[in-house]
Amino acid sequence: MASRQFKLSDYKTDVHNDWCPGCGDFAILNAIQMALADMQIERHRAVVFSGIGCSGKTPHYINVYGIHTLHGRVLPFAIGAKLANPSLEVIAVGGDGDGYGIGAGHFVNAGRRNVDLTYIVFNNAVYGLTKGQASPTLKLGLKTKSLPKPNINQGINPVMIALAAGYTFIARAYAYDVKHLKDMIVRAVRHRGLALIDVLQPCPTYNDIYTKEWFSGLDRIDPVTGRAIPRVYKLEEQGYDPVVHNPDDEDELNAKMMQAIAKSKEWGDRIPVGIFYQNEHIPVYEERISSRIPDYLSNPPALQRIEDGNHNPYADIKRLLDEFRVGTR
């Protein structure tokens, strides 16, 4: 094994972490840090953006550039930075309320651009930081301990929305399978295009339905082995192939989408995690810009020279001014 320059601890800050004891966010945080260490991403190259919520505090605990933005707006902030400097490794994180509720408009429209970044949604089915109201992933009629009455709204299907919107990497993971989650993050970051990881995240404080125990199947003990039968299973262990291989084969494309949708509907007794869909044949937004602006990647907006070193403007508008000259014929 090659020597590793960066240790896991290099990605940790000394900021006091104030999540509730037992919160699934800790596991996700660890997985992100492990993934960074795995990929040996230089600290200064990575930027973690977040929305608002318990999940939104994540960047403060990671020792890379960290931008804790506004409720629901993490994607546009992150996209702005990435497009201004495409050499940044951008990871966006946020809550399910943040991303699928107030942020749903950006969630959908980000799919249209396929910017090369990774979006990790901490899906706990509640609004944590505002004390446990139902989030857009909580299903109709469920009543968590934080709700006075059963949920009056249906839950949405994020995998299917992401597919419909154009995401080119769609995965689900479970917070407490940290190693698998870490793998998903690495795969997502390495994926060329917009990657979504919807992470099933127990919120022990407010959500007493989707608990760690429930995901682990502690309520259903195998009579034979005496062991719990976990609800979560891995797609990759079932020989599921999420990858679109042939860009020209529309049938394959459709089949891959359809199987992802079919899998996204499994819930309850068996909950698949893993990569649902991956398609690297759609050009990322950065390439689309490059096709118009050839030196975009080598001379991106954030790094362009705009003055000559003497505070004089670097841009030359002579040609444009000539067009507007009163005497120009």
Partner: protein, 655 residues
């Protein structure tokens, strides 16, 4: 008496029918002939069919605004006749397509109220509510009429070019009418040709066709009306002069875009909205800069995303901005505060249009001033500047980025529909006059640690984005800078950028941020804060934004026609408010007249709040049409002459 080289020329027609193109040809022809002009576009929130018109105020001296009375009206549709004919002055001219006919009720786009009005005016003179009646009426008023048989001419052109289909190309008619008007004005025919070729430079065959039609009409008109005696004939003439090559014929939105390019804006986001999107589309069309570089223009899903992306790009180190108008700006307010608390440089170009809500989306107003200053919950620093004309818009667009980076805060650059959509002859923009000031942006931390600012940048081996410094400005680095990381949060934060709820730290951070507003007032030049035009006088007009042109022209008229002296104070920095600069400028002012394009005299409120001095008169306008120099002139004269009773004067001109 013949009026040479001073003319208010107007044409109109259904939207989408080529009115703009025709007017642009006229404007370009004038500009090529060394004339000054101010062109104003008025149009409905509609794609095809509603009435739009263009007025071009031409002169051999600089003109900075439109005027109301029409000298020459060029008519190729019924609605233009009904809407504008009554505003043509005695001895003014109407050139019209002779095929125009029909009654008031044939114009469904004319408001019922206006139809009733017209009918009753005509009836009062025992005339019918028809084109014919209208023409008779204006003739009685002393207007000279010239009819051009466009369809016949078109027919001739078609057979001349051996292409019968051309006789159906009614789109040519507006170009023919422009030519007729220039023929009547005896303007140099070659300049008309050159103007057409310039306007259609991307489509040569269309240019040829238009030139043919134009020349044919020009010659026809000249032949038919040339010998008209000037005494009771055409009272106007345009005579070309040598043009100065350092003048531009340009629109406000283009000026802003050019300013952004020079100013180093390399990332622009927008969501389509009138009248802001023209600027972004211009930038996108010119995304590849000469020499190295480019402007990445991103059309977003909404204005919230637009401002958020611009802020994200600002964090990454790009000079970035977004352009919008009222409804979009309303959606940006939350993120504005985020940029404020995180001291992110970002520029918002706010093209005001008439509100509230969707309002009059293609019309003019300066109704967003107090909103721009107070937009966003809580308190954070921002800079608000406003441009008075197209030329200023260019330089202000650049300054906005300098301010944003120097003071590390959002800058709102206010322009408005009247600037964005006007076309004017102005001095060439000179990038050499401009400096790029990136403030305390460091390219690398390592360099800094070995330089003199070392301690300011790295403390305990850590870079503190929000380091407390003497003047509140902390050294800034880009996301991705080697050897450092930082944090941002919309929460109150410590020097590193981490959340804090500590009450004492909170006070220090508020003081740091808000204190920058005082620094700005200390550092900005007097001219950047406010301009004064004219000599000290005891009568002062005060205003901000695009009313500048009308006010300056009106003040000149007052001086020339009535011997009245006034000076003009133009606020350019609206926030932080340049109290002491304004106080000193107004020291000798006894009569203070506030002029603005809104209902509630918003600037006057700022004067009271900051100077504890009210203007003596509030001249306001809020009918969606910009102020003309003629109506401002009337209002100022009335005030000085004592014929104005109330403190509030409402201007009402405009069609």
């Amino acid at each position: 008496m013949e009026v040479v080289n001073r003319l208010n020329w107007v044409t109109g027609g259904p939207q989408g029918s080529g009115v703009d193109t025709a007017a642009n040809v006229f404007a370009k022809a004038c500009a090529l002939g060394g004339l000054y002009l101010f062109g104003k576009r008025e149009y409905h929130s509609n794609i095809k069919g509603e009435h739009s018109y263009f007025s071009i105020h031409v002169s051999d001296k600089p003109v900075r605004a439109h005027v109301d009375p029409i000298d020459m009206l060029v008519v190729f549709d019924l609605e233009t006749l009904f809407r504008h004919a009554l505003h043509v002055v005695k001895d003014g001219i109407i050139v019209y397509d002779s095929s125009i006919e029909g009654s008031i009720d044939d114009v469904p786009t004319l408001e019922k109220r206006r139809r009733d009005e017209l009918r009753s005016v005509l009836a009062r003179h025992s005339l019918e509510g028809t084109a014919e009646g209208m023409l008779k009426l204006v003739e009685m008023n002393g207007v000279r009429l010239y009819s051009i048989p466009c369809h016949d001419l078109l027919h001739d052109i078609a057979s001349k070019r051996n292409d019968p289909s051309l006789s159906k190309m009614v789109r040519l008619i507006n170009m023919m009418m422009v030519s007729a008007s220039l023929a009547l004005l005896e303007y140099d025919q070659q300049l008309l040709v050159d103007a057409i070729r310039y306007i259609f430079r991307a489509r040569k065959s269309i240019a040829d066709l238009n030139v043919d039609a134009a020349l044919y009409t020009y010659n026809y008109t000249k032949a038919r009306y040339a010998n008209t005696d000037k005494e009771d004939g055409i009272g106007y003439r345009l005579i070309a002069r040598e043009f100065r090559d350092d003048m531009l014929l340009i629109q406000g939105n283009q000026a802003v875009a050019l300013g952004k390019i020079v100013g180093g804006c390399r990332f622009q986001t927008y969501y389509p909205i009138t009248p802001a999107s023209d600027e972004s589309e211009f930038l996108e069309a010119n995304e590849l800069l000469d020499g190295k570089g480019s402007v990445v223009v991103v059309q977003t899903e909404d204005e919230i995303a637009a401002v958020a992306m611009a802020i994200g790009a600002g964090l990454a180190g790009a000079r970035s901005s977004t352009s919008t108008s009222g409804p979009g700006f309303s959606l940006m307010v939350e993120a504005l505060g985020w940029a404020g608390i995180n001291e992110v440089p970002v520029v918002i170009t706010l093209y005001q249009r008439a509100g509230p809500s969707t309002g009059l989306p293609t019309r003019h107003e300066q109704g967003d001033l107090l909103f721009a200053i107070h937009a966003g919950h809580g308190e954070f620093p921002r800079i608000v500047i406003a441009s008075g004309d197209v030329e200023e818009a260019f330089y202000d667009a650049i300054r906005a980025f300098n301010y944003a980076e120097r003071y590390q805060m959002p800058v709102i650059h206010m322009v408005d529909k009247a600037i964005a959509n006007c076309v004017t002859v102005c001095n060439e923009f000179n990038p050499a006059l401009v400096r790029i000031d990136r403030g305390l942006l460091l390219d690398s931390v390592t360099n800094a640690t070995t330089s003199t600012t070392a301690e300011a940048v790295v403390v305990d081996g850590r870079y503190s984005r929000f380091r407390f410094t003497g003047d509140g400005i902390s050294p800034r680095i880009r996301l991705g800078t080697v050897g450092a990381v930082f944090w941002n949060t919309g929460d109150e934060h410590d020097e590193l950028g981490h959340i804090t709820e500590d009450p004492d730290l909170r006070i220090r951070m508020m003081d740091k941020r808000m204190g920058k507003l005082d620094l700005i007032l200390k550092e900005l030049s007097y001219e950047e804060q406010a301009m004064v035009y004219g000599y000290k006088s005891d009568a002062t007009v005060i205003s901000w934004g695009s009313t500048k042109g009308a006010i300056l022209d009106a003040i000149d008229m007052l001086k020339a026609r009535d011997g009245i002296d006034m000076n003009f104070v133009q606020l350019r920095l609206l926030h932080p408010f340049p109290t002491s600069r304004i106080a000193s400028l107004l020291e000798e002012t006894r009569l203070l007249i506030d002029v603005e394009m809104n209902y509630s005299a918003q600037l006057a409120k700022l004067l009271r709040a900051n100077l504890q001095r009210d203007a003596d008169y509030h001249v306001v306008k809020y009918n969606g049409r910009p102020m003309s120099s003629s109506e401002v002139y009337e209002a100022l004269k009335g005030i000085v002459r004592g014929s104005v009773r109330s403190k509030r004067v409402v201007l009402r001109h405009g069609v």
